[in-house]
C-alpha cells in the first residue's frame, strides 16, 4: 500500500496500457508465442539439406534392367522400372521417362526444372556407362555460408512482420475497444490532453518492442545460430522507428471505426498486401519490375530491407538511414492524419 507518486498523464496512460496488455493472456501468445512458433516450424522445414534425388522411370523392355543399373550409379537420380510410364510422367510421379527398348529416347516436360536436371543426369549416367570418357576433370568447392541460409533470410522478415502486427493490432484494437466501451468519451470529459492519449500508445509500444524483438532475436541466435552482424544499437533504433510507423498506421486505421469487426477488416486489408509483397517469406525480387517501386515504398518492405541490412549484411546506421527516414515519414503522416480524423465518441 505504499503510495507512489503519480506521474504525468502520458506516463500514467502508458503504464496502465502496459499493465493491461501484460494481463491479456491471448495477446501475449500472439505477440511472443506465434512468431516463435512460426520461426521454429519454417526454420526446420527449410533447413539446409541435400536436394532430393529426382525420380525417373524406365519403361519395361529388353534394355530396361541394364539402364536401371547404369542410372543407379548417379547420386542425383532415383530410378525405377515403370509399366505405366506415360501416366506416371503426367502425374509428376517421375520427372523423366527413359525408353526400355533399343532406341534410346527421353520423354519429359522441358518447362520443368526437375525434368531438365533429370535429363542431364540421366544422359551423363547412360553415356558414361556406354563408355564415354570426360576430357575435363573439374574440382568442386561447396559453399555453406552463414547468413545465406533461408532462416537467416526469414528471421528478419518475421521480426518485421511481428512489428507490423503488434504495432497495428496493439494500437488499433485497444483504441476501437475503448471507443466501443465509451471509455474514450469518458477520457475526454476529463482535462486529459488528446495528444497525451495518442502518444501514450506509442510509448507503451516501445516497452513491448524491447520484449518481442529481444525474444525473437535471442531465439534465432540460440536455436538457429542467426547472428546480428550489424550493431545492436542500430537494430534497436530501427525497431523503434518501425514500431512508430506501424503504431501510426494502426491509429489511422482505428481512428474512425466503431466496431472491432470494421477495424479488423480494415487492418487485414492493409496488412495483407504487405504480408505477401514485402518480402517476409520470400524476396519481392520475384515480382514484376513495374510494381517494385510501389512494393519498396510500403512500410513493411522498408523495415524488412533495413532489418536484413543490419542483421545479415552488417549495414551501418548511415546505410539504412534513408529507409529509416521514410519509416519516420510514414509514422508522422499516419499519426497526424489519424489524430485529425479521430472519433472520440
Amino acid at each position: 500500500m505504499t503510495p507512489s507518486k503519480i506521474g504525468p498523464p502520458i506516463i500514467e496512460l502508458a503504464r496502465a496500457r502496459t499493465k493491461e496488455f501484460l494481463r491479456e493472456t491471448e495477446a501475449i501468445f500472439w505477440v511472443f508465442g506465434f512468431p516463435l512458433l512460426l520461426a521454429l516450424v519454417l526454420g526446420f522445414a527449410f533447413r539446409d539439406k541435400a536436394p532430393d534425388r529426382v525420380p525417373v522411370g524406365i519403361a519395361a523392355g529388353p534394355m530396361a534392367q541394364q539402364r536401371l543399373d547404369a542410372l543407379k550409379k548417379s547420386n542425383a537420380l532415383q530410378p525405377r522400372i515403370v509399366t505405366d510410364g506415360d501416366d506416371a510422367l503426367r502425374h509428376g510421379r517421375i520427372s523423366l521417362l527413359v525408353s526400355g527398348d533399343a532406341a534410346l529416347k527421353y520423354q519429359f516436360d522441358p518447362t520443368r526444372p526437375d525434368a531438365l536436371t533429370a535429363r542431364s543426369a540421366v544422359d551423363d549416367a547412360l553415356q558414361r556407362a556406354a563408355g564415354r570418357r570426360d576430357p575435363l576433370a573439374p574440382s568442386q568447392a561447396f559453399v555453406h555460408e552463414q547468413g545465406a541460409r533461408y532462416i537467416d533470410f526469414l528471421l528478419p522478415g518475421l521480426l518485421g512482420m511481428n512489428l507490423m502486427g503488434t504495432g497495428m493490432w496493439g494500437t488499433g484494437f485497444v483504441i476501437v475497444n475503448a471507443r466501443m466501451k465509451k471509455l474514450l468519451k469518458r477520457f475526454i470529459a476529463t482535462p486529459m490532453r488528446k495528444r497525451d492519449y495518442v502518444l501514450s500508445h506509442f510509448l507503451s509500444r516501445i516497452v513491448f518492442l524491447v520484449l518481442e524483438v529481444g525474444v525473437l532475436v535471442a531465439f534465432g541466435w540460440l536455436v538457429f545460430g542467426v547472428r546480428v552482424n550489424g550493431a545492436v544499437g542500430t537494430l534497436a533504433l530501427l525497431c523503434i522507428v518501425g514500431g512508430f510507423a506501424f503504431s501510426g498506421l494502426g491509429l489511422l486505421t482505428a481512428s474512425r471505426a466503431r466496431t472491432i469487426e470494421a477495424a479488423s477488416g480494415l487492418m487485414n486489408l492493409i496488412m495483407m498486401p504487405m504480408w505477401l509483397c514485402s518480402g517476409v517469406f520470400f524476396s519481392y525480387e520475384r515480382f514484376p519490375d513495374a510494381v517494385k517501386p510501389m512494393i519498396k515504398a510500403l512500410p513493411l518492405t522498408l523495415l524488412n530491407d533495413a532489418l536484413r541490412g543490419v542483421m545479415n549484411d552488417a549495414m551501418t546506421l548511415a546505410q539504412i538511414g534513408p529507409k529509416m527516414l521514410w519509416l519516420v515519414v510514414w509514422g508522422l503522416v499516419t499519426f497526424t492524419a489519424g489524430v485529425k480524423i479521430f472519433r472520440w465518441q
Binding site: P9, R23, K181
Partner: protein, 308 residues
C-alpha cells in the same frame, strides 16, 4: 451575486430522426442538487452531455460556472466530474490503478487511496475492475468523477440497474459531496424515489421539452391531490364514470386500470365502489397509494415513466 452553476437558454439538439432537445431553458444554482427526470428517450442524456461539453448543441447558450465550453474548456474540465451512462472502465486494471490514472489528468484532487476509503472501496483496492459487483463498479465510476475535486458533479443515471443497498450507498456519496464542499450536482434519473430523496429541484422532461419544474413537494402538490386510487372492474367503466365525484381531481387510464386522483381516501373509496355497483359492474382489483412524482408524470403525459 455569484452566477448560477449551470444555465442554458433555448437549447436545441436535433438528430436525423429525433428532436432530442427542443428549446430547453434551465438554471441550476450553486450548491443545488438538480434532477432531470423523464422516460428513456426524453432527451435527458443529450441534455446532460451538452452541458458537459461532450455534445455540441445546434443552437442555444450554455454557461457552466459562468464560463462557456468554447472559451474555457480546459478550466471547466478541471472543475467538473462526470459519470456517463454507459462507460465501461478497463477490466484488467485494478480499482486503484483506474483511479490513479484518472487522478493524473487533474491538477488538484484527493489521494486515490483516501477516496477509495471514503467510498468503502478500500477492500477492493487491488481487485480488477472486471471482478467488481455492479454497485462497486458504479461507486468506482463516481470515484473517478470525484478524483479531480470538482465543483460540479454530473451523474447520468447513476443508479440504474443497481440493487437497493448499492443505491443507498451512492445516495450517501452524493450527500457527502454536497455537505463537505457545497458542490453542485446535476443528475438524470428515471427513478422517482431517487429524485425525491436527493434533489432540491426537479425538471421533468419529455420529448426534449420541459414539462414541469420545481421542488419535489411543489410538483406533487401540482397534482392537486394527495392520494391515488387504482382499480379494475368487469366490465370496464366508461371514462366519465368517476370524473364528477366530489374530491376527485381526475381520472386517467394506467395500463389496464383506471387511476383516480383524490383528496381523501376515506371519502373517495366508498364512492368509487358505489359507482361501480351502480354501473352493474364487478370490482376486480383496488389499490391506493400516496401521490408520487410518478403519478405526476402519468397525469402530465398519459404515459408511464419506465415504459420502454
Amino acid at each position: 451575486m455569484t452566477e448560477a452553476a449551470i444555465s442554458c437558454r433555448d437549447l436545441r439538439k436535433y438528430f436525423a430522426d429525433v428532436k432530442a432537445v427542443d428549446g430547453l431553458d434551465l438554471t441550476v444554482e450553486r450548491g443545488e442538487c438538480f434532477g432531470l427526470l423523464g422516460p428513456n428517450g426524453a432527451g435527458k442524456t443529450t441534455t446532460i452531455e451538452v452541458l458537459e461539453g461532450l455534445t455540441t448543441p445546434d443552437s442555444g447558450d450554455v454557461r457552466v460556472l459562468g464560463m462557456t465550453w468554447k472559451e474555457n474548456e480546459r478550466e471547466l474540465r478541471e472543475r467538473m466530474g462526470v459519470s456517463l451512462q454507459e462507460t465501461q472502465l478497463a477490466e484488467k486494471l485494478t480499482t486503484y490503478e483506474t483511479l490513479r490514472l484518472f487522478r493524473s489528468f487533474y491538477r488538484n484532487g484527493p489521494d486515490p487511496d483516501v477516496l477509495l476509503h471514503e467510498l468503502s472501496l478500500d477492500e477492493k483496492r487491488n481487485a480488477r475492475v472486471g471482478k467488481l459487483s455492479g454497485g462497486q463498479k458504479q461507486r468506482l465510476t463516481v470515484a473517478c468523477a470525484l478524483v479531480g475535486d470538482p465543483d460540479i458533479l454530473f451523474l447520468d443515471e447513476p443508479t440504474t440497474g443497481l440493487d437497493p443497498q448499492s443505491r443507498l450507498q451512492l445516495w450517501e456519496v452524493v450527500a457527502q459531496f454536497r455537505e463537505q464542499k457545497g458542490g453542485t450536482v446535476l443528475l438524470t434519473t428515471h427513478y422517482m424515489e431517487e429524485a425525491q430523496r436527493l434533489c432540491d429541484r426537479i425538471a421533468i422532461v419529455d420529448h426534449g421539452h420541459l414539462i414541469a419544474l420545481g421542488t419535489p413537494a411543489d410538483l406533487i402538490a401540482k397534482l392537486e391531490a394527495r392520494n391515488i386510487i387504482e382499480f379494475t372492474s368487469e366490465p370496464e367503466l366508461p371514462a366519465s364514470a368517476c370524473a364528477d365525484l366530489p374530491g376527485c381531481h381526475g381520472m386517467a387510464k394506467h395500463g389496464e386500470a383506471w387511476q383516480l386522483r383524490v383528496d381523501s381516501l376515506a371519502e373517495a373509496v366508498p364512492r368509487v365502489i358505489n359507482v361501480i355497483e351502480r354501473n352493474g359492474a364487478k370490482l376486480l382489483t383496488l389499490s391506493t397509494h400516496e401521490a408520487t412524482l410518478e403519478d405526476l408524470f402519468v397525469s402530465l403525459t398519459g404515459r408511464e415513466l419506465r415504459d420502454t
